[in-house]
Amino acid sequence: MHYVSEILPSLISGTGMTLSIFFWTIIISIPLGILVGLGMMTRFKPLTWIINIYVWLMRGTPLLLQLIFVFYGLPIIGVVFPRYEAALFAFILNYTAYFAEIFRGGLQAIPAGQYESARVLRLTNWQTLRKIVIPQVVKIVLPSIGNEVINLVKDSSLVYVIGLGDLLRAGNVAMARDVTLLPMVLVAVIYLLLTAVCTLVLRRLEKHYSYWR
């Protein structure tokens, strides 16, 4: 118990980094994902090609590799990010691609009749999107978004590769120093707590949207 209270502060500070990567990625990449998802649906072909290549790159290579490229690779062409910003940039790029695919699926699930029905009622495109399409898409995509959110909690541990001190790294340091697996057990417990909170919040959200079907 004494040992636990000794290493806990460093684990908690690592958790702070994990949460900060987590929240900023969610806050920025979900709206971006909606925009990119809408972009995939436009009839303007060059835009959809660019987006498709982007999504292919992001989903087709490991996030770990993308982190390395952003932090060590981009400086070669003169783009230098500090460690934390590099990590955020890579995570946002990567997660936006996944979210965009999810939103595209959600948008395609809305029957054409809903748009036509809005059109004969003379709603503008923006009104249709805001009042009819987006509320329905949100409900459809929520379970898939939830999956990604849970993944993100754990994926954030990849930032160790560019030297950021997150939760897993804090555990790793303690493990190597004290030659015991106990810090890692604590790390696992903290990750479980974080994902449990996410799961609860997502359940609440799904329940909130269950008033119609």
Binding site: Q114, R122, Q136
Partner: protein
């Protein structure tokens, strides 16, 4: 009064509508009948602006108009879709009031009062706060009619209004359409149900599949 002059429409070079001419007088009911694939629904989609035409002219009250770009005026053309297409995320009342408040910029209270009156007239009292999934097929259709009426259309179009309903509800739809006629509503009904069409029609248009 709606007039169609030499309306034609092609899909991938295949002629669907070939020089259609027709006139619907105010307050009358035109039924469009014919076998599947004859272009009934396409004609309705052209009139309501959901499909563009390849030739011909539309006149509404004697003035030329293009249904596909028909906006920002009071020549609303209402449509009751075959599968109703209510908005599932909105209550019955919200389905009805959404467009009048957002598009016609009417006062929310006026719109709500009017919507409740319409709902009552179509035998939907007590349903205002339900969501579409809680309604029967007939109720959904009546909500779709109320939603279209709330926009004060010049013309109300129905695509196969009897096809998604139980046979015994057919009479009820007839009654609704005839009641609206008494109030002066001009209506166009696409159907493959000939007896139903004969019961309501002032004028019947038969469309046949084109041979080419």
């Amino acid at each position: 009064m709606l007039e169609l002059k030499n309306i034609s429409k092609k899909f991938d070079g295949k002629v669907i509508l070939d020089n259609v001419n027709l006139t619907v007088q105010d307050g009358q009911i035109l039924t469009i009948v014919g076998p599947s694939g004859a272009g009934k629904t396409t004609l309705l989609r052209c009139i309501s602006g959901l499909a563009s035409v390849d030739g011909g002219q539309f006149l509404l009250d004697g003035k030329p108009f293009d249904p596909a770009t028909n906006r920002d005026n009071d020549s609303v053309i209402g449509v009751v879709f075959q599968d109703f297409q209510l908005f599932p995320n909105l209550t019955v009342l919200q389905n009805v009031t959404l467009a009048p408040t957002m598009v016609l910029k009417k006062n929310a209270q006026t719109v709500t009062t009017e919507a409740r009156n319409l709902l009552q007239r179509l035998n939907l009292d007590g349903k205002a706060d339900l969501y579409p999934y809680e309604l029967s097929g007939g109720q959904k259709q009546r909500v779709a009619i109320v939603r279209a009426l709330a926009m004060h259309p010049k013309l109300l179009c129905y695509d196969e209004p009897t096809s998604a309903l139980d046979p015994d509800l057919r009479h009820e739809v007839e009654q609704i359409i005839l009641n609206l006629k008494q109030e002066g509503m001009t209506q166009i009904v696409v159907t493959h149900d000939i007896p139903f069409a004969e019961n309501i029609a002032d004028q019947m248009l038969r469309v046949e599949p084109k041979q080419n």
